[in-house]
């Protein structure tokens, strides 16, 4: 077993694209759920809106890259309005039902045969990322591999990472600032006791809608970064499991805390990468035994990850809903 290789892969994952994308999406969810108490189970829908907003406006409407980004953001806001307006006046679980349904519906819609010309249907969209990589700001050579101690990335990814982590850190700091502003404190008050906040004259509905939109936009940007790194948009990558992974990450780090999305994402992806690389790198003997007894093979190693995500989410919600580092005071998993 090549431990050096496994550790290198694990270390590179720690600050890799997945960690960055999922952390950013979790920052969005943190605004909605951690601070606002909104049960958004369709974060992947916002990611899809961002990604398709970008891809469609560049590929179909022939707009430039920045206009594409703007459209991705607009799409995310529109989705938040569609989801929020009917549900946010109602009990919290209605939003959960509608968001989970909507994210699946978006996937069905963009892969609809008749949308072929616009969204590329099941084949998705490619060739919209050139302006990003060919930008004069990119200091790296796209094809070259860069090593920094135990970390090793391709130049192409390094550029995405640089942009992505910058956006991520700025977003986290902005959210931190926002949550100590009057707006953020009103939002937290609504999370704690909506009736009391309303009695104080706060328009709870408007605050919740704004939180849903803000979190959705952050999710949309995460979606854009993801497809920029992949170089293509595939409808089926936006499946509900992504949402649940984001939830697991947020609860792992502790909802309602500034840095929890990043910490949760690093822990989650390091564990996943370590586990997968160990399982895939097993020598013949133990690997054969595993295959004979529980049918584990290269083919279904990745399914083990989702089994563990589910199990982890179940255990966390049951025993530590405030997350590993969270405090009971900020715990937002509460009745409404």
């Amino acid at each position: 077993m090549d431990w050096g290789f496994i550790l290198e892969r694990t270390f590179s994952t720690m600050f890799g694209v997945e960690v960055m994308v999922f952390a950013l999406a979790a920052v969005g969810l943190n605004v909605q759920f951690g601070y606002g108490g909104l049960l958004n189970f369709g974060q992947v829908g916002f990611m899809a809106m961002g990604a398709y907003g970008l891809g469609v406006s560049i590929n179909y409407f022939q707009l430039n890259f920045l206009a594409g980004v703007a459209f991705g953001i607009v799409f995310s806001i529109v989705l938040a309005l569609i989801l929020g307006v009917p549900t946010l006046r109602l009990r919290a679980d209605y939003l959960a039902i509608v968001t989970i349904a909507a994210s699946e519906t978006i996937r069905l819609f963009v892969r609809w045969r008749r949308m072929k010309e616009i969204t590329g249907a099941s084949e998705g969209i490619g060739e919209f990322t050139d302006p990003f990589y060919e930008s004069g700001l990119n200091p790296f050579t796209v094809g070259q591999r860069y090593d920094f101690g135990p970390f090793s990335y391709v130049g192409r990814d390094l550029w995405v990472l640089m942009v992505g982590w910058t956006i991520l850190i700025i977003t986290v700091l902005l959210v931190k600032r926002l949550m100590s502003s009057p707006w953020g404190r009103a939002l937290k008050a609504i999370r704690e006791d909506e009736d009391a906040a309303r009695a104080l004259g706060k328009n709870a509905y408007a605050y919740k809608l704004q939180a849903l939109m803000l979190g959705g936009v952050i999710g949309g940007i995460a979606g854009m970064l993801q497809v920029i790194q992949k170089g293509s948009i595939q409808p089926d990558t936006f499946n509900p499991v992504i949402t649940f992974t984001i939830w697991a990450i947020l609860i792992l780090g502790g909802p309602g805390r500034t840095w929890s999305p990043i910490i949760g994402s690093i822990i989650y992806w390091s564990l996943v990468s370590f586990l997968e690389n160990v399982l895939r790198g097993l020598p013949e003997g133990p690997a054969g035994t595993l295959e004979d007894t529980i049918g584990l093979s290269d083919f279904n190693v990745s399914q083990v990850r989702f089994i563990l995500v589910g199990f982890g989410l179940l255990l966390l919600a049951r025993f530590r809903p405030q997350g590993i580092f969270g405090s009971r005071e900020e715990m937002a998993l509460d009745d409404r």
């Binding site: 189970f41 679980d93 039902i97 349904a101 279904n300 083990v304 589910g310 998993l333 509460d334």
Partner: protein, 450 residues
């Protein structure tokens, strides 16, 4: 309870005609060592006559299975070609041998890759259309189509209703929105599949050589009864070992809801780990021909399953209305504290609600499984289940029934106007509209839910 009803109704069928038919198709394992079973790939080529709307068979069409051989379809359009062993095969239809003016609906799906599993023949489908391939998608509005879609909508609505009532019962008594309900549906479907092919104990590899019914598979009807029982059992286990403890520890409902989501992913990926990704079908009744009833065509299994689901739903209604436990369920649903103070053992009621809710979901999965068995089936219909429950008003069993029928009919009839591919989107539309204008549901009472 439901299981017993199922068994009683279908007993004559089991030991009647179906038993002999099964004997011909699947020689018992003792006669032929595994691997030499008569496995085959089969199917039937038919298309709708554009003028009369009748089904027309396509004879003398050449079908080739790569590495095995070729076969021509018989006068009734059927073909069957024996394959040496389970595995992946590529099936090609020679397009130039099709009758004049008949085309494949989906030319991209030729050649077709298919997987033959141990112990079951594999059906392959080559949908045909008379005229241009594009025409079939347009579809017109005719009475015949309307009637057929309404029948299919009713069928889907009836099956959905069982899953939806299960969900709404659990919500009514515990306040919990159970996202894992979808997996309870899949569980019923998959456990029935495993009973059907491996018998009572054969899914554990080392027990497989036991004589039937322990190993080697049981008839689908018995397997379905076992599947529903397995559903109830899983409901009991989930409540007893996961959610009862959570309720006692005072875990909030929202956290419990996140728990059901974790449970849902956990179960779903355990299913795909064991069952693999490809869709399969049950061993019996898989290749039935449709029966004509006026303008409607349904297979015999559909008719039996629809009749059975009506019986089950009536059974549920009378259970809720007439038995002590049913009344207790409704009482706890209405007002938990009041029910508790009148001496109802609420935990016992909740146990029964979980058992019957999960068994109902499993029954729904069994009926849906008559068409297709797939590891994420439940998750695919989760949106429809939620739409049904919300439409009827969360926590109201009769509302869920009405909601499911409305959802089933609406989404199927909507294909008169839109592509079948996106019909589930209509359910989301229903959901959004009902939440905007009548959030308490069509049968719910006017009360503030915010």
């Amino acid at each position: 309870m439901f299981a017993a009803a199922l068994a009683a109704t279908l007993m004559p069928l089991m030991f009647g005609g179906q038993a002999s038919a099964q004997g011909e198709d699947d020689p018992p394992a003792e006669e032929a060592p595994a691997g030499e079973l008569d496995l085959s790939i089969f199917g039937q080529l038919r298309y709708d006559d554009p003028t009369t709307g009748d089904k027309v068979s396509a004879p003398n069409v050449t079908i080739e299975v790569e590495g095995v051989g070729t076969v021509e379809t018989a006068d009734n359009g059927e073909f069957r070609i024996a394959v040496p062993e389970p595995g992946d095969y590529t099936v090609t239809l020679a397009v130039d041998t099709l009758p004049e003016g008949v085309n494949l609906v989906n030319p991209d799906a030729n050649p077709l890759k298919t997987t033959v599993n141990q112990g079951s023949d594999q059906r392959v489908l080559f949908p045909l259309v008379s005229g241009d391939a594009e025409d079939s998608t347009a579809g017109g509005i005719s009475f015949r189509r309307f009637a057929q879609l309404a029948a299919e909508g009713l069928k889907q609505g009836l099956y959905l209703a069982m899953a939806a009532i299960g969900l709404t019962l659990i919500f009514g008594t515990t306040g919990l929105v159970n996202f894992a309900q979808a997996e309870l549906v899949t569980w019923g479907m998959l456990s029935t599949y495993f009973f059907n092919f491996y018998g009572l104990a054969g899914m554990f590899g080392f027990l497989a050589p036991l004589p039937p019914p322990l190993g080697g598979g049981v008839n689908l009807v018995l397997a379905a009864v076992l599947g529903v029982i397995a559903g109830g059992l899983l409901g009991y286990v989930l409540n007893r070992f996961i959610f009862r403890g959570a309720r006692r520890a005072g875990v909030s409902l929202i956290a419990q809801m996140v728990m059901t989501i974790g449970l849902s992913i956990l179960l779903r990926y355990v299913f795909v780990y064991i069952f693999r990704g490809a869709p399969r079908s049950f061993g019996d009744f898989s290749a039935q021909r449709a029966i004509k009833l006026g303008p409607i065509e349904l297979t015999a299994k559909d008719l039996v399953a629809m009749a059975l689901s009506v019986i089950i739903l009536i059974g549920v209604a009378s259970y809720l209305e007439m038995t002590r436990m049913g009344k207790a369920m409704r009482a706890v649903s209405d007002d938990r504290e009041l029910a508790e103070s009148t001496g109802i053992d609420v935990e016992r009621v909740i146990t029964w609600v979980w058992v019957s809710g999960a068994a109902l979901a499993a029954a729904s999965g069994v009926f849906f499984g008559l068409d297709q068995v797939k590891w994420d089936f439940g998750f695919r219909i989760l949106l429809l289940v939620f739409a049904s429950v919300t439409l009827g008003g969360l926590g109201r069993p009769y509302g869920a029934l009405v909601g499911a029928l409305v959802v089933g009919l609406t989404i199927n009839l909507s294909t008169l106007l839109i592509d079948a591919e996106v019909k589930n989107m209509v359910a989301l539309l229903i959901l959004a509209l009902i939440l905007l204008f009548r959030p308490q549901g069509i049968l719910g009472q006017r009360e503030r839910v915010g």
